[in-house]
Symmetry: C2
Subunit: 393 residues, 2 copies
């Protein structure tokens, strides 16, 4: 149910196949983010059409609204959002530390005030695990303590040590839930028409440690000492640190991570970040950039990002990206897309989101092909020469 096979390598880049309860995922893989149980502006049919295989949803958001009990009553997350392919839920750690103005961290967990209704709530490793169990995604993430990109070593160590202790508690609770079966989240099994028994869920640890290479190295070793995880996530990056520091962490980790396990770099990223990370052995990614930027009128193209609101596109009959096969690019002109944005039409948000997600999925597919052909480094150089225009970075 949880297998990962490396199909090819070229330099550090890997092409693999991750088998999860709801299907197989070819890696490298970009996961679109469905924060609240929906990838903003896109439908499940849209996501299937652009080749998405694995989606991410946020436990924090779904816990706050509509609540994991409601999701469970509606058949758990797969049925709730009508996604029949693999799903991964984030634990809520990142959201608690990034979204909330008020929060109090203790060894027990985190108290915070909901961003929706101001209500006082708390999350702990156990609760985060129970929530994700109720949601029933293929992959659950351990509850972690995230610190900002510029955190000093003492702060980063404190958070890393806490994340390590919390990981043990998550793993213990997850194992209890697995053993107790379907009753564990407080609902009798007969209460709901679940399409996806959560006893098929796996739990992945999240490595913290900021930009401190010694902490990262120590963290990996200690995580691996704790268990034989089916995958491992690198957290606490893409949170404000310099790009070079992010790459240094990936380079330090690459030889220390178990080759036979998928490596998930959380919250990354932009096209150039995906290429740099795959070059350093990463397999999985998630980021809101394609949908958020799409809603702002920014489209990825092989020649770098393009702002569709610009006047130059007014009467341009060309597609956004002539190399792309998505509905947006095969159907509409830049001129029409610009009109949709200038006229504040909802269809524009969707069409650019759709294209940007397709762009990252095709990018991942291209990296897979370049790896299989053995020439990843050359492919990456050529890709960058075209994508990164002088003056755009």
């Amino acid at each position: 149910m949880f297998e990962f096979t490396i199909d090819a390598t070229s330099e550090a880049a890997r092409a693999g196949t991750l088998v999860l309860p709801h299907g197989a995922v070819a890696t490298p893989c970009f996961m679109p983010v469905g924060t609240q149980g929906t990838v903003r502006a896109l439908s499940p049919n849209d996501l299937r059409a652009v080749g998405a295989t694995l989606l991410l949803a946020n436990s924090y958001h779904l816990h706050v609204r509509p609540g994991e009990d409601t999701v469970a009553q509606l058949g758990r997350l797969h049925r709730f959002m009508a996604w029949d392919r693999p799903l991964l839920t984030d634990s809520g750690g990142f959201q608690v530390f990034s979204l909330e103005r008020f929060r109090r961290v203790s060894e027990q967990g985190v108290e915070f005030q909901s961003h929706v209704d101001g209500s006082r709530r708390s999350l702990s490793p156990e609760r985060a695990t129970e929530i994700q169990w109720a949601l029933g995604a293929d992959v659950a993430m351990a509850f972690d303590h995230v610190v900002p990109g510029g955190a000093d070593e003492a702060t980063a160590r404190d958070a890393m040590e806490r994340t390590m202790r919390w990981l043990e508690r998550c793993a213990k609770r997850h194992e209890e839930l697995r053993r107790s079966g379907d009753q564990a989240d407080g609902h009798a099994a007969s209460d709901r028409p679940s399409a996806c028994p959560p006893d098929r869920q796996t739990l992945w640890p999240i490595l913290q440690g900021g930009t401190h290479l010694d902490l990262r190295t120590e963290g990996v070793r200690r995580i691996l000492d704790l268990g034989d995880w089916t995958g491992l996530a690198i957290g606490g990056l893409s949170v404000g640190e310099p790009k070079a520091a992010q790459l240094a962490v990936l380079e330090t980790l690459e030889p220390r991570l178990p080759p036979a396990r998928p490596r998930y770099l959380m919250g990354v990223g932009f096209p150039e970040d995906l290429v740099a990370a795959v070059e350093r052995g990463v397999d999985l990614f998630d980021c809101v950039a394609p949908t958020r930027n799409g809603r702002n009128g920014s489209a990825f193209t092989p020649d770098g990002p393009l702002n569709i609101r610009n006047a130059e596109h007014r009467a341009d009959p060309r597609p956004l990206d002539a190399t792309c096969d998505c509905e947006t690019c095969v159907t509409f002109s830049r001129g029409y897309l610009r009109h949709l944005f200038v006229a504040d039409e909802l269809l524009g948000l969707r069409l650019l989101s759709l294209h940007n997600v397709r762009f990252l999925i095709r990018l991942a597919q291209a990296m897979r092909a370049a790896t299989a052909s053995g020439g990843f480094a050359r492919w990456a150089d050529e890709w960058r020469r075209r994508y990164i225009q002088p003056g755009t970075t």
Copy 2:
């Protein structure tokens, strides 16, 4: 190119086939409204999937933004919005009289201030005809003077008389454009990759006269004296008049309208309005209600409208409408749809719009079938018994 065949009648209700340059339209037919060249929140694929055959777009809005010249440069309206089935454009009369705070009506036309940028603009029968010629829809509408629902007879007569004089000017300009061919809108034919030669466009008159039955009767006679139109629109209804007054106009007109021409009731409507109008011999409809109400969380169902935001839907696993075959109803639960609205997710706007448009298209199809089977009146009674719940009207 412009044929209308009556396939069946039952009482005043008619089932027909309207053949336009871009395809055939089975009537009764509900046209979704693509005000700015896009049916809000829906894509052309969505519209094809719900069975839309004829869309309406607004000359006024497209003239103000992006401008008919830009649309023409991008291949005219069909190619611009990627709709390969029939299109109808409204003349802009209704918008000038309903949207603008400032306007000055003269015999020549209307001066107004753009609602987008405040610029001073003008429309006349000739300009409205030229704009629609440049857009290139299958059906163009004559430029009309609309008065509010409560207008007295003198006001209504004044507007009706002006609309009649303007109709002659529209027809004259339309004939000139047809004769001069593709050059007429100021672009050389070679300048643009038009998919739809506009010389196939037809022009329909709009009958005004408010709720004054004598004016309406006189208006029909005078319009028919002016030409052998391929269709005829009833304007100036659904603008604030009592429902009974609207029905009285339709009943007065029914025996006076040429049976072999399609009758288009502009700006109507809600499901119960469509049924009442088909009962009185109307063939075509347009209204923003399905998309606007959908975006507000209101869904049509056979048991009357439903507000998806209501707490009762929180954990309801049932579809919006168990009798419906649209993507929304076959895929998602009421509980999930409510979550999308409560969480302000864009997908909710689209899914309810999609269902509501499908609802009206299926309603039109059901009325066609009831007409063909000869039992429209009984069908309508049964439909109303279910749809109009005690206390909802």
